[in-house]
Symmetry: C2
Subunit: 71 residues, 2 copies
DNA sequence: ATATAGTGTAACATTTATTTTACATATCCG
DNA sequence: CGGATATGTAAAATAAATGTTACACTATAT
């Protein structure tokens, strides 16, 4: 069925960017820390807009933060 | 306020890919044609998963289909 | 020891995306 | 003309993302 899944590198990117906390990232992206927590934990994936905002916080190309990978 | 906005090139890409209809794209992406119509008309933006699926239908890099642009 | 920061999680409410059904219009072809 | 195809749109329902509030756990610092 769902042979592709969405993955992200948020956790790694947070630490690569001055050990940014979930709350800092949340504030910079304009959401709550629970939302960042849930996305990191892959409980669900962000909206397209939030995904773009997160990539922008890290100043990274979109596909460097989110990937749509097989299995 | 929202100084950035999400844009997409779905309409152009449909025609560049054999004049694919909204319904064809919808079926290949696993959604209804009304969803594709709404996204093309920018009534709302797709979920991250659907955005990835659409880029995959066109075999295009993600940022070639969706952009987060200023103004 | 206790206070603080960072994190995981959960229930409930609200907002947004998507489906379903349905109707309207325009074009193209017989 | 009449039928088929592609598109725009809308209301109501469901699903998914996000907010709010709250509690628990760990580590670290005072």
């Amino acid at each position: 069925m769902g042979e592709f899944q969405i993955e992200n590198n948020i956790r790694v990117l947070r630490f690569q960017n001055g050990e940014m906390t979930q709350d800092e990232l949340a504030q910079k992206a304009g959401v709550t820390r629970q939302t960042i927590n849930a996305i990191e934990a892959a409980k669900y994936s962000p909206s397209l807009e939030l995904a773009f905002k997160i990539a922008k916080v890290f100043d990274e190309p979109f596909e460097n933060v989110f990937q749509y990978t097989k299995e």
